[in-house]
Subunit: 315 residues, 2 copies
Protein backbone atom coordinates (compact mmCIF):
# COMPACT_ATOMS: atom_id res chain seq x y z
CA UNK A 1 0.00 0.00 0.00
CA UNK A 2 1.28 3.42 -0.93
CA UNK A 3 1.70 5.77 1.96
CA UNK A 4 -0.04 9.11 1.49
CA UNK A 5 1.40 11.72 3.85
CA UNK A 6 -1.33 14.09 2.65
CA UNK A 7 -3.82 12.10 4.72
CA UNK A 8 -2.12 12.98 8.01
CA UNK A 9 -3.84 16.39 7.90
CA UNK A 10 -7.18 14.60 8.32
CA UNK A 11 -6.27 12.10 11.00
CA UNK A 12 -7.49 12.78 14.51
CA UNK A 13 -5.57 11.57 17.50
CA UNK A 14 -4.97 12.13 21.17
CA UNK A 15 -6.63 15.45 21.96
CA UNK A 16 -7.08 16.29 18.28
CA UNK A 17 -10.10 16.48 15.97
CA UNK A 18 -9.52 18.19 12.66
CA UNK A 19 -11.57 21.19 11.56
CA UNK A 20 -12.16 21.48 7.84
CA UNK A 21 -13.56 24.74 6.50
CA UNK A 22 -16.56 24.07 4.25
CA UNK A 23 -16.32 26.14 1.06
CA UNK A 24 -14.22 28.38 3.29
CA UNK A 25 -16.38 29.34 6.23
CA UNK A 26 -19.82 29.65 4.66
CA UNK A 27 -21.53 30.69 7.87
CA UNK A 28 -19.41 33.83 8.05
CA UNK A 29 -18.01 34.60 4.60
CA UNK A 30 -19.30 34.07 1.05
CA UNK A 31 -18.61 30.49 -0.01
CA UNK A 32 -15.92 29.53 -2.48
CA UNK A 33 -14.31 32.96 -2.63
CA UNK A 34 -10.67 33.88 -2.10
CA UNK A 35 -11.85 36.32 0.56
CA UNK A 36 -13.54 33.50 2.44
CA UNK A 37 -10.57 31.17 2.00
CA UNK A 38 -8.14 33.71 3.40
CA UNK A 39 -10.42 34.27 6.38
CA UNK A 40 -10.58 30.52 6.99
CA UNK A 41 -6.80 30.17 6.99
CA UNK A 42 -6.35 33.29 9.10
CA UNK A 43 -8.46 31.89 11.93
CA UNK A 44 -6.14 28.91 12.14
CA UNK A 45 -8.04 26.33 10.09
CA UNK A 46 -5.54 24.02 8.38
CA UNK A 47 -7.77 22.27 5.84
CA UNK A 48 -10.02 23.77 3.19
CA UNK A 49 -12.83 21.96 1.42
CA UNK A 50 -13.98 23.52 -1.85
CA UNK A 51 -15.58 22.59 -5.18
CA UNK A 52 -14.20 22.57 -8.69
CA UNK A 53 -16.28 22.80 -11.87
CA UNK A 54 -15.06 23.45 -15.43
CA UNK A 55 -15.75 26.59 -17.46
CA UNK A 56 -16.71 26.22 -21.12
CA UNK A 57 -13.15 27.07 -22.11
CA UNK A 58 -11.70 24.34 -19.92
CA UNK A 59 -10.60 26.31 -16.86
CA UNK A 60 -11.13 24.70 -13.43
CA UNK A 61 -13.10 27.26 -11.41
CA UNK A 62 -14.25 27.14 -7.81
CA UNK A 63 -18.01 27.03 -7.37
CA UNK A 64 -20.42 24.52 -5.93
CA UNK A 65 -23.08 23.80 -8.52
CA UNK A 66 -23.21 23.05 -12.20
CA UNK A 67 -25.85 25.73 -12.52
CA UNK A 68 -25.30 29.19 -11.05
CA UNK A 69 -27.42 29.74 -7.95
CA UNK A 70 -29.54 32.87 -8.56
CA UNK A 71 -29.65 33.83 -4.88
CA UNK A 72 -25.85 33.83 -4.63
CA UNK A 73 -24.84 35.48 -7.90
CA UNK A 74 -25.29 39.03 -9.17
CA UNK A 75 -24.88 40.07 -12.78
CA UNK A 76 -22.71 42.89 -14.12
CA UNK A 77 -25.44 45.39 -13.17
CA UNK A 78 -25.52 44.18 -9.57
CA UNK A 79 -28.91 42.44 -9.85
CA UNK A 80 -29.56 38.88 -8.69
CA UNK A 81 -29.70 36.35 -11.50
CA UNK A 82 -33.25 35.61 -12.60
CA UNK A 83 -32.72 32.21 -14.23
CA UNK A 84 -31.86 28.92 -12.52
CA UNK A 85 -30.60 27.13 -15.63
CA UNK A 86 -27.38 28.97 -16.40
CA UNK A 87 -24.66 26.34 -16.42
CA UNK A 88 -21.08 27.11 -15.48
CA UNK A 89 -19.98 24.74 -18.27
CA UNK A 90 -21.70 26.98 -20.83
CA UNK A 91 -19.83 30.14 -19.82
CA UNK A 92 -16.25 31.14 -20.52
CA UNK A 93 -13.98 32.15 -17.67
CA UNK A 94 -14.33 35.75 -18.83
CA UNK A 95 -18.13 35.54 -18.65
CA UNK A 96 -17.97 33.92 -15.21
CA UNK A 97 -15.65 36.64 -13.97
CA UNK A 98 -18.24 39.30 -14.78
CA UNK A 99 -20.43 37.87 -12.03
CA UNK A 100 -20.32 38.90 -8.37
CA UNK A 101 -20.39 35.90 -6.03
CA UNK A 102 -19.76 37.82 -2.81
CA UNK A 103 -23.21 37.78 -1.26
CA UNK A 104 -26.51 36.04 -0.66
CA UNK A 105 -29.99 37.35 -1.33
CA UNK A 106 -31.34 37.62 2.23
CA UNK A 107 -34.89 37.01 0.99
CA UNK A 108 -34.12 33.67 -0.64
CA UNK A 109 -34.34 30.29 1.08
CA UNK A 110 -30.64 29.79 0.62
CA UNK A 111 -29.88 33.25 1.96
CA UNK A 112 -31.97 32.60 5.06
CA UNK A 113 -29.87 29.53 5.86
CA UNK A 114 -26.82 31.74 6.45
CA UNK A 115 -28.13 34.92 8.07
CA UNK A 116 -24.75 36.00 9.43
CA UNK A 117 -22.79 35.64 6.21
CA UNK A 118 -21.06 38.92 5.35
CA UNK A 119 -22.03 40.66 2.14
CA UNK A 120 -19.14 41.56 -0.13
CA UNK A 121 -19.14 43.51 -3.34
CA UNK A 122 -16.90 42.67 -6.23
CA UNK A 123 -15.94 39.13 -5.21
CA UNK A 124 -15.38 37.01 -8.30
CA UNK A 125 -15.45 33.26 -8.84
CA UNK A 126 -11.88 32.11 -8.23
CA UNK A 127 -9.96 29.80 -10.50
CA UNK A 128 -8.28 26.77 -8.98
CA UNK A 129 -4.98 28.34 -10.00
CA UNK A 130 -5.72 31.42 -7.91
CA UNK A 131 -6.41 29.35 -4.81
CA UNK A 132 -3.19 27.40 -5.44
CA UNK A 133 -1.28 30.68 -5.64
CA UNK A 134 -2.89 31.81 -2.38
CA UNK A 135 -1.82 28.71 -0.46
CA UNK A 136 1.69 29.10 -1.86
CA UNK A 137 2.03 32.24 0.28
CA UNK A 138 4.50 31.38 3.04
CA UNK A 139 2.04 32.01 5.89
CA UNK A 140 -0.25 29.34 4.44
CA UNK A 141 2.44 26.68 3.93
CA UNK A 142 0.63 24.39 6.41
CA UNK A 143 -2.73 24.48 4.59
CA UNK A 144 -4.10 21.30 2.99
CA UNK A 145 -6.63 21.23 0.18
CA UNK A 146 -9.61 18.89 0.10
CA UNK A 147 -10.48 19.41 -3.54
CA UNK A 148 -13.96 18.25 -4.47
CA UNK A 149 -14.46 17.49 -8.14
CA UNK A 150 -18.06 18.01 -9.25
CA UNK A 151 -19.23 16.17 -12.32
CA UNK A 152 -22.51 16.55 -14.13
CA UNK A 153 -23.69 12.94 -14.18
CA UNK A 154 -26.61 13.92 -16.42
CA UNK A 155 -24.18 14.66 -19.25
CA UNK A 156 -24.23 11.85 -21.87
CA UNK A 157 -20.52 12.35 -22.43
CA UNK A 158 -19.67 11.78 -18.78
CA UNK A 159 -16.59 9.58 -19.28
CA UNK A 160 -14.85 12.07 -21.53
CA UNK A 161 -15.83 14.88 -19.16
CA UNK A 162 -14.37 13.06 -16.18
CA UNK A 163 -11.12 12.43 -17.95
CA UNK A 164 -10.78 16.02 -19.14
CA UNK A 165 -11.70 17.48 -15.76
CA UNK A 166 -9.26 15.32 -13.85
CA UNK A 167 -6.51 16.16 -16.35
CA UNK A 168 -7.13 19.90 -16.06
CA UNK A 169 -7.32 19.84 -12.26
CA UNK A 170 -4.24 17.67 -11.83
CA UNK A 171 -2.31 19.93 -14.22
CA UNK A 172 -3.02 22.99 -12.08
CA UNK A 173 -2.20 21.26 -8.78
CA UNK A 174 1.06 19.86 -10.18
CA UNK A 175 2.03 23.16 -11.79
CA UNK A 176 1.80 24.79 -8.35
CA UNK A 177 3.74 22.01 -6.65
CA UNK A 178 0.80 21.20 -4.38
CA UNK A 179 0.25 17.49 -4.92
CA UNK A 180 1.71 16.82 -1.46
CA UNK A 181 -0.91 19.04 0.11
CA UNK A 182 -3.96 17.98 -1.88
CA UNK A 183 -6.53 15.19 -1.59
CA UNK A 184 -9.02 14.55 -4.40
CA UNK A 185 -12.55 14.23 -3.13
CA UNK A 186 -15.85 13.34 -4.80
CA UNK A 187 -19.30 11.78 -4.66
CA UNK A 188 -18.54 10.47 -8.15
CA UNK A 189 -16.56 7.37 -7.27
CA UNK A 190 -15.88 6.48 -10.91
CA UNK A 191 -14.19 9.84 -11.21
CA UNK A 192 -11.99 8.95 -8.24
CA UNK A 193 -10.85 5.86 -10.19
CA UNK A 194 -9.85 8.22 -12.97
CA UNK A 195 -8.00 10.41 -10.42
CA UNK A 196 -5.97 7.41 -9.29
CA UNK A 197 -5.10 6.57 -12.87
CA UNK A 198 -4.00 10.07 -13.76
CA UNK A 199 -2.54 11.16 -10.43
CA UNK A 200 -1.41 8.20 -8.35
CA UNK A 201 0.55 10.54 -6.11
CA UNK A 202 -2.59 12.08 -4.59
CA UNK A 203 -4.96 10.34 -2.18
CA UNK A 204 -8.64 9.96 -2.97
CA UNK A 205 -11.43 10.83 -0.55
CA UNK A 206 -14.87 9.19 -0.81
CA UNK A 207 -17.98 11.19 -0.09
CA UNK A 208 -21.15 9.31 0.79
CA UNK A 209 -24.68 9.90 1.98
CA UNK A 210 -27.00 7.08 3.01
CA UNK A 211 -30.62 7.23 1.83
CA UNK A 212 -32.69 9.26 4.24
CA UNK A 213 -36.46 9.33 4.24
CA UNK A 214 -38.94 8.04 1.75
CA UNK A 215 -37.81 7.90 -1.84
CA UNK A 216 -34.30 9.10 -1.06
CA UNK A 217 -31.37 7.44 -2.75
CA UNK A 218 -27.89 7.17 -1.37
CA UNK A 219 -24.99 9.02 -2.89
CA UNK A 220 -23.31 7.59 -4.84
CA UNK A 221 -26.26 5.55 -6.02
CA UNK A 222 -26.25 1.97 -4.79
CA UNK A 223 -22.89 1.87 -3.03
CA UNK A 224 -24.20 0.70 0.32
CA UNK A 225 -25.35 -2.53 -1.27
CA UNK A 226 -21.75 -3.54 -1.95
CA UNK A 227 -20.78 -3.90 1.73
CA UNK A 228 -20.09 -1.56 4.62
CA UNK A 229 -18.91 1.81 3.40
CA UNK A 230 -15.41 1.81 4.93
CA UNK A 231 -14.77 -1.60 3.35
CA UNK A 232 -16.03 -0.46 -0.02
CA UNK A 233 -13.89 2.67 0.11
CA UNK A 234 -10.77 0.76 1.12
CA UNK A 235 -11.33 -1.87 -1.57
CA UNK A 236 -11.80 0.82 -4.19
CA UNK A 237 -8.40 2.19 -3.23
CA UNK A 238 -9.57 5.22 -1.27
CA UNK A 239 -7.62 6.80 1.58
CA UNK A 240 -10.43 8.62 3.34
CA UNK A 241 -14.14 8.24 4.00
CA UNK A 242 -16.35 11.33 4.21
CA UNK A 243 -19.89 10.38 5.22
CA UNK A 244 -22.85 12.63 5.96
CA UNK A 245 -22.48 13.04 9.71
CA UNK A 246 -25.71 11.26 10.61
CA UNK A 247 -24.48 8.10 8.88
CA UNK A 248 -21.65 7.52 11.35
CA UNK A 249 -21.99 4.68 13.88
CA UNK A 250 -19.46 3.37 16.43
CA UNK A 251 -19.19 0.15 14.39
CA UNK A 252 -18.40 1.99 11.17
CA UNK A 253 -15.86 4.16 12.95
CA UNK A 254 -14.17 1.03 14.30
CA UNK A 255 -14.14 -0.53 10.86
CA UNK A 256 -12.66 2.56 9.28
CA UNK A 257 -10.02 2.75 12.00
CA UNK A 258 -9.07 -0.88 11.43
CA UNK A 259 -8.66 -0.03 7.75
CA UNK A 260 -6.61 3.08 8.62
CA UNK A 261 -9.16 5.34 6.90
CA UNK A 262 -9.72 8.73 8.52
CA UNK A 263 -13.43 9.49 8.92
CA UNK A 264 -14.25 13.09 8.08
CA UNK A 265 -17.92 14.04 8.46
CA UNK A 266 -19.84 16.77 6.65
CA UNK A 267 -21.38 19.33 7.11
CA UNK A 268 -21.80 19.84 10.82
CA UNK A 269 -23.08 23.24 11.90
CA UNK A 270 -25.42 22.92 14.87
CA UNK A 271 -23.95 22.79 18.38
CA UNK A 272 -25.66 19.52 19.33
CA UNK A 273 -24.47 17.83 16.16
CA UNK A 274 -20.92 19.09 16.56
CA UNK A 275 -20.84 17.83 20.15
CA UNK A 276 -22.19 14.44 19.04
CA UNK A 277 -19.42 14.13 16.45
CA UNK A 278 -16.77 15.13 18.99
CA UNK A 279 -18.11 12.52 21.39
CA UNK A 280 -18.25 9.91 18.62
CA UNK A 281 -14.55 10.52 18.04
CA UNK A 282 -14.50 11.23 14.31
CA UNK A 283 -11.19 12.29 12.78
CA UNK A 284 -12.39 15.50 11.24
CA UNK A 285 -15.41 17.79 11.03
CA UNK A 286 -16.33 19.72 7.90
CA UNK A 287 -18.23 22.84 8.95
CA UNK A 288 -19.53 26.19 7.80
CA UNK A 289 -18.77 27.56 11.30
CA UNK A 290 -15.13 26.76 12.08
CA UNK A 291 -15.00 29.23 14.97
CA UNK A 292 -17.89 27.42 16.63
CA UNK A 293 -16.21 24.03 16.27
CA UNK A 294 -12.90 25.40 17.54
CA UNK A 295 -14.61 26.70 20.66
CA UNK A 296 -16.52 23.46 21.34
CA UNK A 297 -13.28 21.50 21.01
CA UNK A 298 -11.38 23.83 23.36
CA UNK A 299 -14.15 23.60 25.92
CA UNK A 300 -13.37 19.87 26.09
CA UNK A 301 -9.62 20.31 26.22
CA UNK A 302 -9.27 19.29 22.57
CA UNK A 303 -7.51 21.01 19.69
CA UNK A 304 -7.73 20.87 15.91
CA UNK A 305 -4.13 21.43 14.88
CA UNK A 306 -0.73 20.44 16.16
CA UNK A 307 0.25 24.07 15.44
CA UNK A 308 -2.18 25.50 17.97
CA UNK A 309 -1.46 25.07 21.66
CA UNK A 310 -4.66 24.35 23.54
CA UNK A 311 -5.07 26.30 26.78
CA UNK A 312 -5.53 24.05 29.80
CA UNK A 313 -9.14 23.54 30.88
CA UNK A 314 -10.02 23.85 34.55
CA UNK A 315 -11.48 20.52 35.69
Amino acid sequence: MTAFPQVDAYRGGAGLIRVIGHRGARGVMPENTLEGFRFTFDIGVDVLEFDVVMSSDGVPVITHNHALLPSAVRDGQGAWLQREDIKVADLTLKELRDLDVGGLDSRSDYGRRFPDQAFLSGAVMPTLAELCALVQEPQYAHVSLLLELKTDLSDPDIDALRSAQVAAVVDVVRAHGLTERTALHSFDWALLDECRRQAPEMPTSYLSEAPRGEGASCQPDGVTKAGSLPEVVAKAGGQMWCPWFEDVTPELLDEARALSLPVVVWTVNEVDDIVAMIEAGVDGIVTDYPGRVQRLLLERGLGWSARVSTPPVAV
Copy 2:
Protein backbone atom coordinates in the same frame (compact mmCIF):
# COMPACT_ATOMS: atom_id res chain seq x y z
CA MET B 1 -20.91 76.12 14.79
CA THR B 2 -17.90 74.31 13.39
CA ALA B 3 -18.65 71.85 10.66
CA PHE B 4 -17.23 68.39 11.31
CA PRO B 5 -17.03 66.41 8.08
CA GLN B 6 -16.00 63.38 10.16
CA VAL B 7 -19.60 63.09 11.32
CA ASP B 8 -20.89 62.36 7.82
CA ALA B 9 -19.71 58.75 8.19
CA TYR B 10 -22.33 58.29 10.93
CA ARG B 11 -25.28 60.05 9.32
CA GLY B 12 -28.01 57.85 7.92
CA GLY B 13 -30.07 58.97 4.99
CA ALA B 14 -32.28 57.83 2.18
CA GLY B 15 -31.78 54.08 2.00
CA LEU B 16 -28.79 54.19 4.31
CA ILE B 17 -28.20 53.10 7.91
CA ARG B 18 -24.58 52.97 9.02
CA VAL B 19 -23.02 49.79 10.36
CA ILE B 20 -20.33 50.28 12.98
CA GLY B 21 -18.18 47.29 13.92
CA HIS B 22 -18.08 46.88 17.71
CA ARG B 23 -14.51 46.25 18.89
CA GLY B 24 -14.13 44.96 15.33
CA ALA B 25 -16.69 42.21 14.88
CA ARG B 26 -16.74 40.58 18.32
CA GLY B 27 -19.27 37.93 17.33
CA VAL B 28 -16.87 36.49 14.76
CA MET B 29 -13.33 37.60 15.60
CA PRO B 30 -11.50 38.34 18.87
CA GLU B 31 -12.34 41.85 20.00
CA ASN B 32 -9.92 44.74 19.79
CA THR B 33 -7.31 42.90 17.71
CA LEU B 34 -5.75 43.96 14.42
CA GLU B 35 -6.92 40.62 12.99
CA GLY B 36 -10.50 41.44 13.91
CA PHE B 37 -10.19 45.02 12.64
CA ARG B 38 -8.90 43.89 9.27
CA PHE B 39 -11.75 41.39 8.99
CA THR B 40 -14.26 44.13 9.78
CA PHE B 41 -12.90 46.42 7.08
CA ASP B 42 -12.63 43.57 4.58
CA ILE B 43 -16.34 42.79 4.83
CA GLY B 44 -17.15 46.33 3.80
CA VAL B 45 -17.76 47.96 7.19
CA ASP B 46 -16.70 51.60 7.02
CA VAL B 47 -16.66 52.53 10.71
CA LEU B 48 -14.80 50.89 13.56
CA GLU B 49 -15.59 51.36 17.23
CA PHE B 50 -12.79 50.40 19.65
CA ASP B 51 -11.46 51.24 23.11
CA VAL B 52 -8.30 52.97 24.24
CA VAL B 53 -6.67 52.58 27.64
CA MET B 54 -3.17 53.70 28.73
CA SER B 55 -0.28 51.40 29.57
CA SER B 56 1.86 52.20 32.62
CA ASP B 57 4.49 53.69 30.32
CA GLY B 58 1.99 56.03 28.69
CA VAL B 59 1.21 54.19 25.45
CA PRO B 60 -2.40 54.22 24.22
CA VAL B 61 -3.35 50.56 23.75
CA ILE B 62 -6.56 49.05 22.44
CA THR B 63 -8.46 47.00 25.00
CA HIS B 64 -11.86 47.33 26.62
CA ASN B 65 -11.38 47.21 30.37
CA HIS B 66 -9.09 48.77 32.93
CA ALA B 67 -8.52 45.31 34.34
CA LEU B 68 -7.56 42.44 32.04
CA LEU B 69 -10.42 39.99 31.58
CA PRO B 70 -9.15 36.54 32.64
CA SER B 71 -11.41 34.67 30.22
CA ALA B 72 -10.07 36.62 27.25
CA VAL B 73 -6.36 36.76 28.03
CA ARG B 74 -3.70 34.06 28.12
CA ASP B 75 -0.29 34.45 29.73
CA GLY B 76 3.08 33.72 28.13
CA GLN B 77 2.57 30.00 28.86
CA GLY B 78 -0.79 29.93 27.09
CA ALA B 79 -2.86 29.58 30.26
CA TRP B 80 -5.88 31.75 31.05
CA LEU B 81 -5.19 34.50 33.57
CA GLN B 82 -6.21 33.51 37.07
CA ARG B 83 -6.59 36.97 38.64
CA GLU B 84 -9.27 39.56 37.90
CA ASP B 85 -7.41 42.54 39.35
CA ILE B 86 -4.55 43.00 36.90
CA LYS B 87 -4.80 46.56 35.64
CA VAL B 88 -3.64 47.59 32.19
CA ALA B 89 -2.39 50.83 33.72
CA ASP B 90 0.00 48.85 35.93
CA LEU B 91 1.70 47.04 33.04
CA THR B 92 4.19 48.34 30.52
CA LEU B 93 3.55 47.94 26.82
CA LYS B 94 6.18 45.21 26.77
CA GLU B 95 4.39 43.31 29.54
CA LEU B 96 1.03 43.72 27.80
CA ARG B 97 2.52 42.43 24.56
CA ASP B 98 3.47 39.16 26.23
CA LEU B 99 -0.23 38.36 26.57
CA ASP B 100 -2.34 36.56 23.98
CA VAL B 101 -5.70 38.27 23.46
CA GLY B 102 -6.82 36.17 20.50
CA GLY B 103 -9.40 33.93 22.13
CA LEU B 104 -12.11 33.42 24.70
CA ASP B 105 -12.34 30.71 27.34
CA SER B 106 -15.39 28.76 26.11
CA ARG B 107 -16.24 27.72 29.67
CA SER B 108 -16.48 31.25 31.02
CA ASP B 109 -19.65 33.35 31.10
CA TYR B 110 -18.05 35.84 28.75
CA GLY B 111 -16.92 33.10 26.41
CA ARG B 112 -20.41 31.65 26.26
CA ARG B 113 -21.77 35.00 25.09
CA PHE B 114 -19.79 34.69 21.83
CA PRO B 115 -19.84 31.00 20.92
CA ASP B 116 -18.91 31.54 17.27
CA GLN B 117 -15.92 33.78 17.88
CA ALA B 118 -12.83 32.31 16.18
CA PHE B 119 -9.92 31.31 18.37
CA LEU B 120 -6.57 32.77 17.35
CA SER B 121 -3.15 32.11 18.75
CA GLY B 122 -0.52 34.78 19.09
CA ALA B 123 -2.80 37.81 18.75
CA VAL B 124 -1.41 40.68 20.80
CA MET B 125 -3.01 43.79 22.23
CA PRO B 126 -2.65 46.44 19.53
CA THR B 127 -1.42 49.94 20.13
CA LEU B 128 -3.46 52.84 18.82
CA ALA B 129 -0.51 53.63 16.55
CA GLU B 130 -0.73 50.18 14.95
CA LEU B 131 -4.41 50.61 14.19
CA CYS B 132 -3.69 54.04 12.72
CA ALA B 133 -1.02 52.50 10.50
CA LEU B 134 -3.49 49.82 9.40
CA VAL B 135 -6.14 52.33 8.31
CA GLN B 136 -3.46 54.28 6.44
CA GLU B 137 -3.24 51.35 4.01
CA PRO B 138 -4.75 52.57 0.73
CA GLN B 139 -7.53 49.97 0.65
CA TYR B 140 -8.79 51.29 4.00
CA ALA B 141 -8.73 54.97 3.06
CA HIS B 142 -12.52 55.16 3.53
CA VAL B 143 -12.49 53.80 7.10
CA SER B 144 -13.55 56.05 9.98
CA LEU B 145 -12.54 55.56 13.59
CA LEU B 146 -14.93 55.87 16.52
CA LEU B 147 -12.31 56.03 19.22
CA GLU B 148 -13.64 55.37 22.71
CA LEU B 149 -11.51 56.74 25.52
CA LYS B 150 -11.87 54.72 28.71
CA THR B 151 -11.05 56.44 31.98
CA ASP B 152 -10.85 54.87 35.39
CA LEU B 153 -13.21 57.15 37.31
CA SER B 154 -12.21 55.45 40.57
CA ASP B 155 -8.72 56.95 40.29
CA PRO B 156 -8.29 59.91 42.70
CA ASP B 157 -6.09 61.62 40.13
CA ILE B 158 -8.75 61.51 37.44
CA ASP B 159 -8.30 65.05 36.10
CA ALA B 160 -4.60 64.61 35.45
CA LEU B 161 -5.27 61.16 33.94
CA ARG B 162 -7.83 62.57 31.56
CA SER B 163 -5.55 65.30 30.42
CA ALA B 164 -2.61 62.93 29.88
CA GLN B 165 -4.72 60.33 28.08
CA VAL B 166 -6.30 62.84 25.73
CA ALA B 167 -2.89 64.33 24.98
CA ALA B 168 -1.37 60.92 24.19
CA VAL B 169 -4.30 59.81 22.05
CA VAL B 170 -4.52 63.05 20.10
CA ASP B 171 -0.77 62.94 19.50
CA VAL B 172 -1.02 59.53 17.86
CA VAL B 173 -4.05 60.42 15.73
CA ARG B 174 -2.44 63.65 14.57
CA ALA B 175 0.90 61.99 13.88
CA HIS B 176 -0.87 59.60 11.50
CA GLY B 177 -2.83 62.36 9.81
CA LEU B 178 -6.13 60.82 10.84
CA THR B 179 -7.93 63.65 12.63
CA GLU B 180 -10.26 64.00 9.63
CA ARG B 181 -11.32 60.37 9.99
CA THR B 182 -11.64 60.17 13.79
CA ALA B 183 -14.38 60.95 16.29
CA LEU B 184 -13.64 60.93 20.03
CA HIS B 185 -16.19 58.94 21.98
CA SER B 186 -16.75 58.36 25.69
CA PHE B 187 -19.08 57.76 28.60
CA ASP B 188 -16.88 60.17 30.51
CA TRP B 189 -18.37 63.45 29.41
CA ALA B 190 -15.86 65.53 31.37
CA LEU B 191 -13.17 63.84 29.33
CA LEU B 192 -14.98 64.89 26.16
CA ASP B 193 -14.70 68.51 27.38
CA GLU B 194 -10.96 67.93 27.63
CA CYS B 195 -10.96 66.46 24.10
CA ARG B 196 -12.57 69.61 22.74
CA ARG B 197 -10.01 71.76 24.52
CA GLN B 198 -7.02 69.81 23.26
CA ALA B 199 -8.34 68.75 19.83
CA PRO B 200 -10.98 71.16 18.57
CA GLU B 201 -10.60 69.69 15.07
CA MET B 202 -12.19 66.36 16.06
CA PRO B 203 -15.89 65.82 16.84
CA THR B 204 -17.00 64.40 20.18
CA SER B 205 -19.46 61.54 20.53
CA TYR B 206 -21.53 61.11 23.70
CA LEU B 207 -22.27 57.62 25.01
CA SER B 208 -25.20 57.19 27.37
CA GLU B 209 -27.20 54.52 29.11
CA ALA B 210 -30.42 55.28 31.01
CA PRO B 211 -30.93 53.58 34.38
CA ARG B 212 -32.48 50.16 33.90
CA GLY B 213 -33.95 48.09 36.68
CA GLU B 214 -33.81 48.53 40.41
CA GLY B 215 -30.78 50.27 41.78
CA ALA B 216 -29.28 50.93 38.36
CA SER B 217 -27.72 54.29 37.66
CA CYS B 218 -27.47 55.94 34.32
CA GLN B 219 -24.18 56.43 32.58
CA PRO B 220 -22.82 59.02 32.91
CA ASP B 221 -24.24 59.44 36.38
CA GLY B 222 -27.04 61.95 36.63
CA VAL B 223 -27.02 63.36 33.11
CA THR B 224 -30.66 62.64 32.37
CA LYS B 225 -31.68 65.08 35.10
CA ALA B 226 -30.22 67.95 33.09
CA GLY B 227 -32.74 67.69 30.23
CA SER B 228 -33.37 65.37 27.32
CA LEU B 229 -30.20 63.65 26.23
CA PRO B 230 -29.92 65.08 22.71
CA GLU B 231 -30.31 68.58 24.15
CA VAL B 232 -27.70 67.95 26.81
CA VAL B 233 -25.26 66.56 24.25
CA ALA B 234 -25.76 69.44 21.87
CA LYS B 235 -25.41 72.02 24.66
CA ALA B 236 -22.22 70.34 25.83
CA GLY B 237 -20.81 70.80 22.34
CA GLY B 238 -21.14 67.21 21.16
CA GLN B 239 -21.63 66.20 17.53
CA MET B 240 -23.11 62.75 18.05
CA TRP B 241 -25.32 60.90 20.52
CA CYS B 242 -24.72 57.19 21.15
CA PRO B 243 -27.42 55.78 23.43
CA TRP B 244 -27.97 52.19 24.55
CA PHE B 245 -30.39 51.02 21.89
CA GLU B 246 -33.32 50.48 24.24
CA ASP B 247 -33.19 54.14 25.27
CA VAL B 248 -34.20 55.40 21.85
CA THR B 249 -37.72 56.78 21.36
CA PRO B 250 -39.28 58.45 18.31
CA GLU B 251 -39.37 61.72 20.25
CA LEU B 252 -35.68 61.59 21.10
CA LEU B 253 -34.82 60.72 17.50
CA ASP B 254 -36.80 63.74 16.32
CA GLU B 255 -35.06 65.97 18.84
CA ALA B 256 -31.64 64.71 17.81
CA ARG B 257 -32.49 65.22 14.16
CA ALA B 258 -33.61 68.79 14.82
CA LEU B 259 -30.24 69.36 16.51
CA SER B 260 -28.43 67.72 13.56
CA LEU B 261 -26.97 65.05 15.87
CA PRO B 262 -26.61 61.57 14.34
CA VAL B 263 -28.01 58.89 16.64
CA VAL B 264 -25.81 55.81 16.75
CA VAL B 265 -27.09 53.01 18.98
CA TRP B 266 -25.07 50.30 20.74
CA THR B 267 -24.66 47.29 20.89
CA VAL B 268 -27.33 45.65 18.79
CA ASN B 269 -26.86 41.93 18.12
CA GLU B 270 -30.19 40.11 18.14
CA VAL B 271 -32.26 40.01 14.96
CA ASP B 272 -35.41 41.46 16.58
CA ASP B 273 -33.46 44.33 18.10
CA ILE B 274 -31.65 45.09 14.86
CA VAL B 275 -34.96 45.13 12.98
CA ALA B 276 -36.47 47.43 15.62
CA MET B 277 -33.58 49.87 15.21
CA ILE B 278 -33.86 49.78 11.41
CA GLU B 279 -37.58 50.49 11.70
CA ALA B 280 -36.97 53.26 14.22
CA GLY B 281 -34.70 54.91 11.66
CA VAL B 282 -31.54 55.42 13.69
CA ASP B 283 -28.50 56.75 11.85
CA GLY B 284 -26.12 53.97 12.77
CA ILE B 285 -25.98 50.60 14.50
CA VAL B 286 -23.00 49.46 16.53
CA THR B 287 -22.91 45.66 16.42
CA ASP B 288 -20.79 42.60 17.15
CA TYR B 289 -22.35 40.95 14.07
CA PRO B 290 -21.89 43.30 11.11
CA GLY B 291 -22.68 40.56 8.56
CA ARG B 292 -26.05 40.01 10.22
CA VAL B 293 -26.89 43.72 10.15
CA GLN B 294 -25.75 44.02 6.52
CA ARG B 295 -28.09 41.21 5.55
CA LEU B 296 -31.08 42.60 7.47
CA LEU B 297 -30.56 45.97 5.81
CA LEU B 298 -30.30 44.46 2.32
CA GLU B 299 -33.46 42.46 2.88
CA ARG B 300 -35.25 45.80 3.25
CA GLY B 301 -33.59 47.39 0.25
CA LEU B 302 -31.28 49.43 2.49
CA GLY B 303 -27.51 49.80 2.45
CA TRP B 304 -24.86 50.86 4.96
CA SER B 305 -22.34 52.62 2.76
CA ALA B 306 -22.43 54.86 -0.27
CA ARG B 307 -19.57 52.69 -1.58
CA VAL B 308 -21.70 49.52 -1.71
CA SER B 309 -24.38 49.23 -4.35
CA THR B 310 -27.46 47.57 -2.94
CA PRO B 311 -28.99 44.87 -5.15
CA PRO B 312 -32.60 45.56 -6.01
CA VAL B 313 -35.14 43.77 -3.84
CA ALA B 314 -38.10 42.07 -5.52
CA VAL B 315 -41.32 43.61 -4.19
